[in-house]
Assembly symmetry: D2
Homo-oligomer: 340 residues x 4
């Protein structure tokens, strides 16, 4: 029988409780400690996990020999210092997205994980949702054909942060899904944004991603939209996908383009072309909670049984793309190279 991974959760704010719950419920993990600087948060942790060690000082946990892995859900600007120390102390790390708030920090974290020979995994949870896994299966099986474009919209009216802009807050979701599915490096990014309602950071942004060749990707993120939209459209030569995360039942629709018919409809005013698709299928999706699937994956990566799909290098790539977007935003939308 395999010894469970002893897990500490750092940060018990919005996301930490989800990590703690999944660690506590996973047969391959023991939740052994929770860290949070805020006593009120710690009291909530105590109520939920009365048997678990609780502390306001992360160093207690990082120094402890009975912790194998640290799940970091503290604010992004604190990730770098905490993760570096955890890796140095020989802990495996799962860190909430974004990996870091700059490419430079992210690079240091990737190097430290290599040095320490420990797992550094970035919690891009969406990669583990049933819809994304199903889409990924089409890409992996070569069923998409040539990919034409990737178009994503993630907008809503709701709660937002005042210490980051909408790109840092929302774009990591879409960029991680896009990289995971397309498997191609983004060469340059253009970003336009604006600030409204006395905000100090952008609340709306449009990002255009360029790749080698004619593949084009685009993302609209917006904190100030009256209606909630979370939709990705992927156009390709053999299938087209519409992934609508708001839909309760049919989140994914697959349009068959194999039966695509091109006809000259009329000759008069130049050539008109008609495209049509065949049947539309909403594939049955697995019901596994994304975070539970991600926990399985993390355990397997630590044990060497699976290759990581969202490791430090992947998280670094996401941060580099956002860095390029930030530079473009500052330059009035002129496309900026993604640095490597």
């Amino acid at each position: 029988m395999v010894t469970p991974l002893r897990v500490a959760v750092a940060g018990f704010g919005y996301w930490g409780p989800n990590l703690a719950r999944n660690a506590a419920n996973h047969p391959g993990m023991d939740l052994v400690a929770i860290v949070d600087a805020n006593p009120r948060r710690l009291a909530a942790a105590k109520a939920a996990y009365p048997m678990v060690r609780l502390t306001t000082d992360a160093r207690d946990v990082l120094a402890s020999p009975d912790v194998d892995a640290v799940f970091v859900a503290t604010p992004p600007e604190t990730h770098c210092a905490l993760v570096l120390e955890a890796l140095e102390r020989g802990k495996h790390v799962l860190v909430e997205k974004p990996l870091a708030t700059s490419s430079h920090d992210a690079e240091r974290m990737v190097a430290a994980a290599a040095q320490a020979e420990r797992v550094l995994s970035v919690d891009h949870t969406f990669l583990f949702t049933p819809a994304v896994r199903k889409m990924q299966s089409y890409f992996a099986a070569g069923e998409m054909g040539e990919v034409y474009y990737y178009d994503s919209t993630r907008i809503n009216l709701g709660i937002f942060q005042s210490n980051a802009n909408v790109i840092w807050d929302l774009a990591p979701h879409d960029i991680s899904i896009m990289l995971h599915l397309l498997g191609e490096p983004v060469t340059s990014v253009s970003a336009f944004g604006a600030r409204h309602v006395d905000m100090k950071n952008e609340n709306i942004a449009y990002l255009t991603f360029q790749f080698e060749g004619s593949l084009l990707a685009h993302l609209h993120v917006n904190w100030l939209a009256p209606t909630k939209i979370r939709r990705t459209i992927i156009g390709a030569s053999r299938k087209m996908l519409v992934y609508d995360d708001i839909e309760p039942d049919e989140k994914l629709k697959v349009y068959d383009c194999g039966a695509q018919i091109a006809t000259d409809v009329e000759e008069m005013y130049g050539r008109l072309v008609e495209y049509r698709t065949g049947d539309v299928v909403s594939p049955r999706l697995d019901k596994t909670e994304a975070l539970a699937a991600e926990m399985d994956h993390f355990v397997n990566v630590v044990r060497g049984a699976e290759l990581p799909i969202s490791d430090g290098a992947f998280g670094l790539e996401v941060v580099r793309i956002i860095d390029a977007a930030q530079r473009s935003l500052a330059n009035g939308g002129i496309p900026e190279q993604v640095q490597r």
Copy 2:
């Protein structure tokens, strides 16, 4: 009693029959002639309007003293020559969008109309739809507050032209509505696009429009989308609008932001802000067909009873913006000034 306007329709392809039908049915117009170079088209015109003069040669109509106005629905590249001649011959003109295929041509047409003291109206039909008229009433009454952004998506899979790109084909609709509602000049445009499936012109494009101040506008046009979307979201300080032209009944939704509440939700990781809207209203819309309302307007403009809302200068502005988009497209997305 007022003498009806004697109208000739030039071009009986896709759009011409709609112009002819509306002219024939309007109490202030007489449909007197239809021109089309294609005999098969002319036969269709004869079946529908057996009493109307039919000709393959536009000059017959332009030379005729018993024609007061010409409705031009020929291909865009033929607009300039035809409209210039019509104006010189003293005819009023209603011309299908886009006014011309270059700013230079459009400028000549505007100058010719001024010279001839004749009405030059551009058929941006969407301006006359009940939903756009309702939205315009909010802007005109000052009920929107400060406008933050204008976001439009016009995508579908269907019939498309091979002799123009998707911007020239679809963007005039959105640009005309945007200019009509916002009433502010676009300063620069960035455009990204791509060509797929052996097309010689772009089938997908993203356009970002910049204005003075923090107002931002964006348009996604796409001929190769598996699903049809025609939606415009307008964010402003007092109202937010969602105009969904696919919806059969509730095309327009108005979100009340007067009751907008901003609360600090939590202090821990920086300030979080919550925005909420009040009631959502789908206003009852008038059922008048857009083209019928546009015919009324044209007659009234000719008679001097109304100021034109889509005259040559307006149509020229649309073309200038598209010209800037085309230059940006050629320059890899770098924003281009709209020339004036």
Copy 3:
């Protein structure tokens, strides 16, 4: 080459113009006459079909040897006399639904058609829509398995007649589709309804149809609903169908029940059972207009090349079911046998 069928259209009100247009456009038909007692209607017919014989007196047409078939689109209460005379005069007949306003009249019409050896076809147009034809193909191929229920809702706010109730107006659509698909006789009908807003006839009704065995069918028809719903759900052991006629693109959804999984979820408070379906498919539908397909069918039936799918006997069955519903309505909802 086959001689076209010479068609007269009787009644040029709401539906007659559609019949006339389809007859005029069909290669196997010649539209030779239009009858309407109302001079204003006749003037409209003249404008549209200047070459066609027009008359206010149906007897002119029925007596004419150069008419092979009469398409009857006059008010339902006039069908019987007109159709009987047409059949006696040796004309084939296509008659708008409902065939008659009583079973007794309908029986006389069926007998007369047999006697005259002429085609009597009832225009249940919905049977020829792409969605219904696609559904019928599943039933015909035995792909549905055991049918459990047929549930239909046809409600809206709009124009309605004052001289019939909502059952006579709307139910023939659903009853004809149901009979066509299920191919089983209705044994009894229960109907509840109510009158509101000073109407003299029912504006809302609920009909329950019983068959041999455990198959159950139900219909809600309503003229006074704030939202338009036209949806049919068919539950069966191998497929479940949702036919939503309001949907512009995906009118039909097919739920695969082959992969249906029944699990005991929990034992505690009795057996709980979970049912799930597999993929959902929106099959690509043909775009042929229903009425054009029906015209093809009518010509083929007259020529003996196809068996009728909506003949007099079928139309009679629809009327008998409505008769039973009317009796149940009068009896406070007690189920009434369908008489045969």
Copy 4:
């Protein structure tokens, strides 16, 4: 300061944990005990509420002087005995719907509550949802006008019980909302249902409710539908309501009928009437969780500060209506009087 109500929860299966969580979180309640006969359930209760007394024997709790109220979430067939004993012992009771499995049992429970002078409240949770409270406010303010019909559909494919039919499982929700809003007694009920897939109880049923006058109500409940629908349409002379509980944001739509226009559209074939509505409003709904609002209400009823809206008499009325439906079901759909 007011002493909190000391609450015991009996039954920790599907619904009990929600009652326990809300009791534990309510400032006016102390959760003091949890009862469940199943040790596995009790272990789950212990993990969640380590400080609360746990027992497999309800009598421990009912005999205890330090329990003021019992929340009963055991299977329906156990309600009667448990509630009677609780009332006799002087406890206030909140019992999950349905109150009982027969009118006779429900009557005994109502009488016992009167005798004991204790609160007997039935947990018809839907009455406390923001959407139902908003609708109720229109009725209470007299803004609906004359009510014409109440039409509800509650169907889905999912988990269902094998020891009750779909009416007992789902109809209490709709019947309780209907009674709460309409405030009028149902006079008779007709029910049709069917059993499929080797079930021993009905999995589909149609219920028609009759009242004094022309008001008509109808309910479709179905465990075997491929798509989930939870929609209620209420037609009245001044407002029409559509309550769609699946909608994440706009659960309630209010159609203004004040501007309703009735026009004679055409005179030819009898009088045609057109009805139209004015603006459609989706009112902003409160976000309070229904169960939290219900806890407030229960505390206030116990303290005498509010009149009960879902007391024993109300719960009895729901059971009587279901009893009538069951009798009608057994009689082939013949309407049955609601007994009083």
